[in-house]
Symmetry: C2
Subunit: 146 residues, 2 copies
DNA sequence: TCTTGACCTCAAGTGGGCTTGAAGTTGCAT
DNA sequence: ATGCAACTTCAAGCCCACTTGAGGTCAAGA
């Protein structure tokens, strides 16, 4: 059992952030000591998980949907699998990007965007993403979601 | 040379997004055909790069700072190296997260947050992050930036 | 008992990254 | 010459993830 300031100190999350997460149902407190919220130790793992998932680019909504509001809501296997696959895809993109940057560092081309090697690296990373495929016919300014 | 609708179609970025990027100096057009902006082909690579960098969690500001407003502003090697390292760190986190999720999928523990294997995976991912170290003394609600 | 300081709630504000909408301009086809 | 679709600008709006601020409450110590 920890209060909010302990949890904040140990997790590196500001108290306001912790309260906010509780408000949106990502974590929960299990009571009060006076006014102070009390958290179970478990919540530390939960917070770490949330932090990682955010790094992976998931929204709080997606995270909640994946890990549930309580610990239990038996994390649906297919959801988890989908997220794991999404992360895999992201890892590939990041790897390509990193390689691209490292290449640029010791590439002598004056304009790196013209460097064929660089372009290939970037393009390869995105062909995976191109599963997004095609969408709206015309393009009267509307469209896509990224 | 392409106009905005062609670029939009080929890149999957909405016209408004392209105009916005131009406004903030991430891309540039090289003239007009009538009213229409004209872009060089180079900008496609640039856009791909921006997209990847966003996936990696960088803000538009950071991206601009890294790849410059024009193609040239000779991408500072140390900045690039730092970004590459940051991406490496992120890859490690994502890998751990993915492994964690995959583990949960065929872990029989009723509450996965209690599963020691899972906890270890998560913890390992974050110890890398703990370079963030310590900060403010007290914790009167102020503090940190994540 | 009184103060103090760390917590509390709730509403409003912030910054990033765009999108939307109104009003105007343009080139091309009729 | 006229219409119209596809652009243009500019300001305002929106969603997300929080932070900030005002005003209130509590419990531990002087």
């Amino acid at each position: 059992m920890l209060d909010i300031s302990e949890l904040s100190r140990e997790s590196g999350f500001s108290p306001s952030k912790l309260r906010y997460y509780e408000e949106v149902g990502l974590i929960r407190s299990v009571g009060r000591r006076g006014l102070k919220r009390l958290y179970e130790d478990e919540v530390k793992t939960r917070i770490s998980l949330i932090s990682l998932a955010q790094t992976a680019g998931f929204s709080l909504g997606e995270i909640k949907e994946t890990i549930g509001s309580e610990g239990r809501p038996d994390l649906d296997g297919t959801v988890l699998a989908a997220k794991a696959d999404a992360i895999d895809a992201k890892i590939k993109e990041l790897t390509a990007l990193r390689d691209g940057l490292r290449h640029v560092m010791n590439c002598t081309a004056e304009n790196h965007l013209d460097c064929p090697r660089f372009q290939r690296i970037i393009r390869v990373a995105l062909t995976k993403k191109q599963v997004d495929g095609k969408r709206s016919k015309k393009n009267p300014d509307k469209g896509r979601r990224n």
